[in-house]
Amino acid sequence: MSKEQLGQFLAHSVELESEARERYLELSEAMAEHNNKEVAEFFGRMADESRLHLEEVAEIAEQHDLPDLKAWEFNWPEEESPETASYEAVHYRMTLRQAMLLALDNERAAERFYRSFADSSQDAQTRRLAAQFSAEEASHAAHLVKWLGKLPADPEHPLEEDDPPHMPE
């Protein structure tokens, strides 16, 4: 039973970190395509951070038997894995501050997810690893809060177009 719990936890952890990386990469490439270079670079950096965390989790997971779950068989608190930036939350004109706030939300969601295992799992190894991963996500969130404090305020209506995309008559 404890082996099963650990396997489930690690399978979710690998998927969480992998999806976070994939989404940040996708967003970085999309932002670069739409000439929002500042946000593209930030999402690229977040993808790199996620890759490092993914490698760490995958290395631990390799030593255990993980269940082979399909994408829709994972048990997430919401529709998608917690650290994955929601498609509804991004816009091609979003500012660096908005991108950082989005990333902060993701880090905090991941921290809560891992903490729920740390607080409630019946398996000691799962609790230990979950507490470790949760602390790492909390430290990422703290870094983001520090960066956010150094950013200038956003313009009043950052998403408004100077030249709206609708076709004239």
């Binding site: 932002m31 739409h34 929002n36 399909k70 994408a71 529709e79 609708h166 076709m167």
Partner: protein, 274 residues
């Protein structure tokens, strides 16, 4: 003997990078398709994605499988022909609301009626996005964002699920770009359904319909089993708000062509000889 390597969702993505607007719901459909393929363990070279024209119809280029970016509204015709010629392949037709319900509307009706064993994914953002935001067949009556329809289109939008049911579609589901994992499951089920399967996807257009970001708070999963009685389903589709997701209707019937009418590629070549 070595076991074949199990492909992950990202392995089904091609080297071509999407040029959709960041925040576009079609990214989610791309993600869901690759997740469904990975979940089913489908071989990349046994799969064909066929599309029409429009933002969503770019999707086949982004998947590492065979693909055909077809003619506006004709994705379904091409996909059905391909499936009849090569029943061994998994064939998906893709497109948007303008491509599928206006320009290709007649093909949509007859694909539902004919029941060839393919999956049709209609990515509905209620607008012609590629041509910069004109009203489509599913645009709300009072949508006044476009200068071409400053007071809204003034006509009732199509209800794709109701249309599909009336035309005879045996499998009808609805997904939402905010829930790619549910959508992946629906696509996997659609592929496994032995006949025409229609997946209507609410896929937000962040650029021309920014109000669709509100879907996140109003779209809900229907937590009842799929309907199998067409009369009951018709009543649901005519009276619902169109924002419930899940498998809505399933009433399998024999796909076309039947097993007795096996068509060989050579027969088709012969038939088309001038």
């Amino acid at each position: 003997m070595n076991q074949p390597l199990k492909l992950k969702a990202k392995d089904y993505k091609s080297e071509v990078k999407p040029i959709w607007c960041p925040g576009c719901g079609h990214y989610s459909v791309l993600s869901a398709i690759t997740k469904a393929f990975a979940g089913l363990g489908i071989a990349r070279d046994d799969t064909v994605l066929v599309s029409g024209i429009g933002c969503s119809s770019r999707l086949p280029a982004y998947v590492d499988s065979y693909g055909f970016h077809g003619v506006h509204g004709r994705g379904l015709a091409i996909a059905q022909g391909l499936k009849v010629a090569r029943p061994d392949l998994t064939v998906l037709a893709l497109g948007g609301d303008g491509d599928g319900f206006s320009i290709g509307g007649n093909h949509f009706l007859h694909a539902c009626r004919r029941n060839v064993n393919i999956t049709y994914i209609a990515m509905d953002n209620e607008v012609y996005g590629m041509t910069k935001g004109q009203a489509s067949p599913t645009t709300p009556e009072d949508w006044d964002h476009s200068k071409l329809t400053p007071h809204g289109p003034g006509v009732r939008p199509f209800k794709p699920a109701a249309l599909a049911l009336a035309a005879g579609a045996p499998w009808i589901a609805r997904g939402y770009s905010g829930n790619p994992n549910q959508m992946a499951r629906l696509i996997a089920e659609a592929i496994e359904h032995p006949g025409f399967s229609f997946l209507h996807v609410l896929s937000q257009c962040i650029t021309f319909c920014p109000e669709q970001t509100d879907w996140k708070s109003i779209v809900s999963e229907r937590d009842e089993p799929a309907l199998s009685d067409a009369d009951v389903a018709a009543s649901l589709f005519h009276h619902e708000d169109g924002l419930q997701t899940g498998l809505l209707y399933a009433s399998p019937r024999n796909a076309w062509p039947g097993p007795q009418a096996k068509v060989q590629s050579a027969d088709i070549s012969e038939g088309f000889r001038l």
